[in-house]
Symmetry: none
Subunit: 418 residues, 2 copies
């Protein structure tokens, strides 16, 4: 049973807008075992929308069409769908009364432009809209089911949850269970090579997909088939173990968490505090760590020491060291990590210094060269990295590697337990 989501609205075809409703719909559909096969965005143009609707009716059994039910001139989805289906629009007295009442409560007379919202496609069930004027519609066409839904999130969300999902639950067969494993520290090709033997052992009903961006990878396991849920979970557990055996050092989460969430939980669990000294990341590590609610329990501070003067004054990095080795050097990273640990009183001192680009690179110190140091009670470890990409990518990869260094330092001890 192919499922398709159609978002209608010319603004969704500009560089500034994105259809986010479909993400919400997808989550709901997945929860009852339904996959989405196609998503289409189309403007308010009559011919284009009619074409898209015909295509959908030809290839999908479940169609969710949203947007274009409002009162303005360019809201014509209802009319165009009726035409495409060869059905009439029928005036509904009850809807008219409801819309009029809605305006009356706000002390306004119902504008004439809202009148078209009182028309329903012949044979359709009406989906009430307690949060707006446009009712939704639910109809059958041959073997297809079509839901016509309003565009505003505060209208479509409750309508979908309270009126569409229950109707779908009756149709939904089977079960969908998803797992997301997240990794960092290896490239896409390297991951593929390690995954090769895993692919051969994927059980039927399960699909494995991977996604890579600089500094972050994910592996998604999806089971689709019959229940019971416990059997599906066991199947995924087994596959997850196989992947874990092949890729353990790089996996930071098996629950789809962000790296900062994982590091935060480890710090909390270990009763450790952290402070950072950031140069090229410019505050990104602090921003990411403090993006996690409750981070004040373990995050003390970050010294974003961009200038050399700040490195010296805030962290006690000797000016002579900076002159001799440069601000981007293993020695500077080490001194920054020791300095932030000492001056902050944190258990862990994390330091990053590098060349983020696009300017400032030299033959010996190219753009992307980043030193990361972690100081703890036992000493300091310094890591040299060469990252590729633009300024934003170098900053992100640096923050990712730095957080991963912390993660690894905190999981070393727990390894014995596993």
């Amino acid at each position: 049973m192919k499922t398709e989501i159609i978002a209608v609205g010319s603004e969704l075809l500009t560089p500034d807008f994105q259809d986010t409703n479909s993400l919400f719909l997808t989550a709901g559909l997945n929860s009852i075992g339904l996959d989405v096969s196609f998503k289409t965005v189309v403007g308010d143009d009559e011919r284009d929308l009619a074409r898209v609707l015909r295509t959908a009716l030809g290839r999908s059994r479940l169609i969710f069409c949203m947007g274009g039910l409002g009162p303005t001139e360019d809201d014509r989805t209802r009319e165009i769908l009726a035409k495409t289906l060869g059905r009439k629009l029928v005036y509904h007295k009850d809807i008219h009364a409801r819309i009029r009442e809605r305006f009356r409560r706000r002390g306004i007379a119902m504008p004439a432009s809202n009148l078209k919202q009182c028309y329903v496609i012949e044979g359709a069930e009406v989906l009430d809209n307690p949060n707006g004027t446009a009712p939704g519609l639910w109809l059958n066409k041959a073997r297809c089911k079509v839901a016509l839904l309003p565009g505003p999130p505060r209208e479509i969300r409750p309508m979908f949850e309270n009126q569409v999902l229950p109707r779908l639950a009756a149709l939904g067969r089977g079960l969908m269970v998803r797992r997301v494993m997240r990794l960092t520290g290896l490239g896409e090709s390297a991951m593929e090579t390690l995954m090769k033997p895993v692919y051969a052992s994927v059980p039927p009903g399960v699909t494995v997909t991977t996604l890579a961006s600089p500094g972050d990878l994910s592996i998604r396991l999806t089971y689709k088939g019959a229940g019971p849920r416990a059997a599906a979970e066991a199947l995924l557990d087994g596959l997850e173990r196989t992947i874990g055996n092949a890729l353990a050092p790089w996996i930071y989460s098996r629950e789809g968490d962000t790296l900062e969430t994982v590091v935060g939980a480890l710090l909390k669990e270990n009763g450790k505090t952290i402070a950072c000294a950031e140069s090229c990341t410019g505050g990104l590590i602090g921003h990411r760590l403090t993006g996690v609610p409750g981070s004040s329990a373990y995050f003390l501070e970050s010294a974003v020491v961009y200038s050399n003067r700040a490195k010296t004054r805030r962290l006690g990095v000797p000016g002579t060291l900076l002159t001799r080795c440069g601000a981007v050097s293993a020695a500077a990273a080490r001194a920054m990590a020791i300095g932030i640990r000492k001056t902050s009183g944190a258990d862990l001192g994390l330091a990053v210094t590098g060349v983020a680009g696009p300017d400032g690179g030299t033959a010996r110190k190219p753009v992307g060269l980043v030193y990361i140091a972690l100081a703890h009670a036992q000493g300091v470890a310094v890591h040299r990295n060469l990252f590729f990409g633009g300024r934003a990518q170098v900053k992100f990869q640096s923050s990712q590697k730095a957080l991963d260094v912390v993660r690894k330092s905190l999981t070393k001890r727990s390894k014995k337990v596993l």
Copy 2:
């Protein structure tokens, strides 16, 4: 000439991922007068993708298909397009050599999985990919032109700009000119009210659209029609002046720049340096300011003083003040701004302290309460704010308001010049 963008990847059909490449492509297409009529998202499934490609070939003249060119098992766009077109894949020695060399430079042997990237659809031109292994393809099919592009943003963006846009420029008819004005500090409804009279004076051929998110608004002016470009620009200039008269205090850019870019340029122009003391923003202001290339010319440092101890030790905020007034108070913000200015030696000291939530709010100090202070040679100004939304929204709005306070302080003097 209908234009269609197809994004390929099963992850784009999950609730977690969104196709953002199409926004970038749309901006580029618009700039040469091309509108997008359809956007489709489809998974890695062979039948589904083949179907989508056939539909596109039937309704569009320009097709941009992106994603699925990588080395992994599920990357099969190249093969499926070849099959759909009824064409062969031809091995290219040059591409093989280039990919091998790319790996060699990183000290790795080329994995066998990358071999399929050396195959080109019969009759296609190769689009070089300096940022990845997968080359793009450009081909004609009857009256259609098809571009096959890699999915990763850092690969598709330069390829599209440097190799696709020039090919399209030759085809583009008509003219599209866009302006983006960016604003902060007022709500969407307030902007709409002020824009009402403006809407009445929009010249024919121009459309005005607005976009609002918490802390940031934009107004886009689009001219579409005949040339010459100078006449279109003059038309937009006039409209921009009208909008400027109605909304001047809130407009921070007329060129679509980010607020941090505008603030950076103003600091440079005025020969001023800045240092920040961040509590609830957690490093976001530093991260944003250092996201601008060349920011080391004016950004000295940011003290992310999350703990009270750090506020006292780093900035000299008296412990008694923190006990008496609390860390989230006008007095604390003022002391932090003075402290960071003094200890950093910067011309401007910017401080932010607030309750980002979701926890930690009280009746007197609710989630979203944020104090922002700016210290300069003439004194200190403190601003009290109450922001709505979740943790991420409060952090972003705080950083936005803080940067806008700096912007306003730097434009006050320049006003006399205008």
